[in-house]
């Protein structure tokens, strides 16, 4: 019984969404009710997760565990954002500028760091992995697409070259399309398994 109830709820919810997609006018009201429940439960779950996070970091600060300084920064940033948003309002221009001034450089730095890591990895690739089919094909393809990314070859406007470039540029699109087809099939199968109770991602 303990296992049957979640399976029943998940299966019925999935079937209801599928049925509502087919019979939209008739079942739209039922679907909205179910969605309201889902939104409320998701909001409560988000609050619980937030409380758990804060409690965990507060405990870490109280017990002065290793790395507690980061917990201190997290709690401080949370309190500042929370108090600022509650007092000034989340749509206050000054408050938004303040948040943007912190968030934007931080995220841009992360992207820059990723670029640096990739450059270092490219430099060490052949030294660490040696000459193999994988490394050589990776190196050549990376070089080709870096050159294409510059756009200089396209600017030459040579018809024969454009055909080759078009063929090369279609390769990642073809790959992505195959990836999307695979994802779609996987999502379809996973959805069927959940609806039929064969898969229980919500359970233990």
């Amino acid at each position: 019984m303990k296992k049957a109830i979640p399976i029943l709820i998940a299966g019925l919810s999935g079937l209801l969404v599928l049925a509502a997609l087919i019979w939209q006018p008739q079942l739209a009201g039922w679907l909205e009710v179910v969605l309201n429940w889902a939104v409320i439960i998701a909001s409560v779950a988000a609050l619980v997760a937030l409380a758990t996070l804060l409690l965990a970091h507060t405990r870490k600060i109280i017990k002065v565990r290793h790395g507690f300084i980061y917990s201190l920064i997290l709690i401080g940033a949370f309190l500042a954002s929370f108090v600022g948003g509650m007092t000034a309002g989340v749509e206050n221009p000054s408050y938004l500028r303040w948040i943007a001034a912190i968030q934007q450089p931080a995220e841009a730095s992360l992207l820059g760091l990723a670029a640096l890591v990739m450059a270092a990895a490219a430099l060490r690739l052949f030294h660490q992995r040696g000459w193999s089919a994988l490394t050589v094909s990776f190196g050549i393809s990376a070089l080709v697409f870096l050159v294409l990314g510059l756009g200089w070859l396209q600017a030459l406007q040579i018809p024969q070259l454009d055909i080759v470039i078009g063929y090369l540029e279609a390769l990642p699109l073809v790959g992505m399309r195959g990836l999307l087809i695979g994802m779609g099939l996987g999502a379809l199968l996973l959805g069927l398994r959940i609806v039929l109770g064969l898969e229980r991602p919500y359970g233990e």
Partner: protein, 613 residues
């Protein structure tokens, strides 16, 4: 039924097997409830090692009993008298218990109980008990002991013969072992000293059969021992030897086996000869010690077991034959088990300094190139006539919008990519604002609230329209698409149903978020309603949706965004980061090529070094 009943040893009457006391006389019957093979009482103490086989212990006990009368102990008389005692019968088992092995006591007790059931065997056992308890007890014991002695001697002879056969293979033509020849070559002066005690002392002992002491046999025997060290034999020492020196010469190493076996060969001569044999051996060991040390061999030393033996060694049966390789493997296994669970010390690799500074150099080069590009390199000109189909489709969709149409602009990107998307979206927003299209901003991330303000200010749109935040992520998008009649109270106010918008313009920097809109919202809205401006990295993700008609048109990256602006008659925003992107791409190419070149050079250097070597 009779076999299941137990007989009280006091009154001789039958009782049920489950009773603990005799129902007739009231005596305890606990000893009779022992289960075969399970000991409820502690094992008998044994000096020779409690891990020996039980039958061996019993044999030794028997032999001790046989040896005790010679040591003027009046036990046989007491034993002879004990069956006659009638009142002391209750004390008799307690006196005999330490002398009779436990398994034998159990067999006798069982045989006495099951006399009828077991028949002949039990009756013989009972007869045996009667005889043993009679006057001939000592004689039978002696006969039994001598029989065991004979068996043991024959076994030892077989072992020695096999060892001699093996040693003869390693001997030279003169019958001298190879190792002895080497020693003689190295130390000719010691040779005499070495052979002297071995030759003389046995003569003093006067027993040619005493192994080490015998001139020829002793030497050949030693040689055979040395040569046959791979075959380590540890035959069981005789009870007399154990009685005389129970813990002196227990073999621990292959070299020590030699000393351990000498007392066994002395067993025939008696306890006196046994006590002298180790001393002769010690003298020989003292003579050989410097030679052995110089050769780097392990000296033959009889170490007392309490110093050399571990608990595992004590548990090895003494009649076990071990090859040297087996013993070495056992040693390796023992070491492995001892090391099991212990933490290995971390390997302290010296950190090569070049590994850290080359990253710094790369970072500095990239930073310098970026700053230089931003400061000194002008923006590239946009070439006309290169617009792809999906950009033209987007242009057509936007130009189809007119006054009175409603457009929902969804900001679904992160601050890190805001520069790229703002440069694409600003001209489009300017265009639809000029055409009198009513547009509304919807953000799906909290940071979208201030990103919307930045976008509006970049586009130069005043007053800045209010952005609506849609909480709930994927679920919120799905709910917004489903809620056609705006009956869901949890959705943000100020938004119309998605069907009321002529177009939904997605500003995306994430392929997965774009998929959410396509898979959660698009099925409820129908085709041809979505337009997209996406980051360059998501171009491949959007194209299939464009080909399937779910997206009416899109532009990806700053180049297509600038082209789009040009097609719409707007001034494209030439942000300097486009140049920075190109410089970054060039740096990556250079690094890749550099990596290949340095690797090829390292390989060539290695080849040259090998050729020289």
């Amino acid at each position: 039924m009779t076999a299941d009943m137990i007989v009280c040893p006091h009154c001789g009457k039958e009782n049920f097997p489950q009773v603990t006391h005799c129902v007739h006389c009231g005596e305890e019957l606990v000893d009779l409830f022992k289960i075969e093979g399970i000991e409820s009482t502690p094992p008998m103490p044994s000096k020779e090692g409690s891990d020996l086989p039980e039958i061996l212990k019993s044999l030794r006990d028997e032999e001790r009993k046989a040896a005790e009368p010679t040591e003027s102990t009046p036990i046989p008389e007491e034993q002879a008298e004990s069956p006659i005692q009638t009142e002391g019968e209750e004390q008799l088992p307690q006196k005999e218990e330490p002398q009779v092995p436990e398994w034998l006591a159990r067999i006798r007790t069982r045989a006495a109980q099951e006399a009828d059931a077991t028949g002949d065997l039990a009756s013989r056992a009972g007869t045996m008990d009667q005889v043993r308890s009679g006057e001939k007890h000592a004689e039978i014991d002696k006969e039994f002991t001598s029989w065991i002695e004979r068996l043991r001697e024959s076994k030892q002879r077989e072992v020695l013969q096999s060892a001699r056969k093996a040693s003869e293979e390693g001997e030279t033509a003169e019958g001298v072992p190879e190792w002895l020849q080497k020693i003689r070559e190295l130390h000719p002066e010691v040779e005499g000293e070495e052979t002297q005690p071995i030759e003389s002392e046995p003569l003093e002992e006067g027993s040619p059969s005493e192994g080490v002491a015998a001139p020829g046999a002793g030497e050949s025997e030693e040689a055979s021992r040395e040569e046959t060290q791979p075959v380590e034999e540890a035959t069981a020492p005789t009870p007399e030897a154990e009685a005389a020196q129970p813990e002196e010469t227990v073999p621990t190493e292959p070299q020590q086996d030699l000393s351990a076996e000498q007392p066994e060969e002395h067993a025939e001569a008696g306890a006196e000869a046994q006590t002298k044999a180790p001393s002769a051996e010690q003298e020989a060991a003292e003579i050989l010690e410097p030679i052995v040390a110089e050769l780097g061999m392990q000296p033959e030393v009889s170490v007392p077991p309490e110093e050399s033996e571990t608990a595992e060694e004590q548990s090895v049966a003494q009649d076990l034959l071990l090859l040297r390789s087996q013993k070495e493997r056992a040693e390796v296994l023992r070491n492995l088990i001892a090391e099991e669970g212990k933490a290995f010390p971390p390997a302290h690799k010296p950190k090569s300094p070049h590994k850290s500074w080359y990253r710094l150099v790369i970072g500095l080069i990239m930073l310098a190139a970026l700053i230089g590009t931003l400061l000194f390199v002008p923006s590239p000109p946009i070439k006309e006539g290169a617009a792809p189909a999906h950009v033209i489709a987007l242009q057509d969709a936007l130009q189809a919008l007119g006054a009175g149409d409603r457009v929902l602009v969804v900001l679904d990107y992160q601050p890190a990519t805001s520069r790229e998307l703002e440069s694409m979206a600003a001209p489009v927003l300017q265009f639809i604002a000029e055409r009198g299209v009513a547009w509304q901003l919807l953000v799906t991330q909290p940071s979208g609230l201030w990103l919307a303000q930045e976008l509006a200010s970049t586009a130069g749109i005043t007053p800045i329209p209010e952005a609506v935040y849609l909480p709930g992520g994927n679920l919120g998008v799905f709910a917004l698409a489903v809620d056609q009649d705006q009956s869901m109270p949890l959705l943000p106010s100020g938004l119309s149903a998605l069907n009321d918008y002529r177009a939904i313009l997605l500003l995306e920097d994430s392929g997965s978020q774009f998929q959410v809109w396509m898979e959660q919202a698009a099925p409820w809205l129908g085709k041809g309603r979505f337009l997209a401006l996406v980051a360059n990295q998501d171009a491949a993700m959007v194209l299939p949706y464009y080909d399937s008609g779910q997206v009416s048109g899109y532009a990806a990256g700053t180049q297509e965004g600038a082209l789009m602006a040009q097609l719409l008659g707007q001034q494209p925003m030439h942000l300097p980061h486009e140049r920075a992107l190109q410089v970054g791409l060039i740096i990556m190419m250079v690094i890749l090529i550099l990596s290949m070149v340095t690797k090829a050079e390292a390989d060539a250097t290695e080849r040259r070094r090998e050729e020289k070597a």
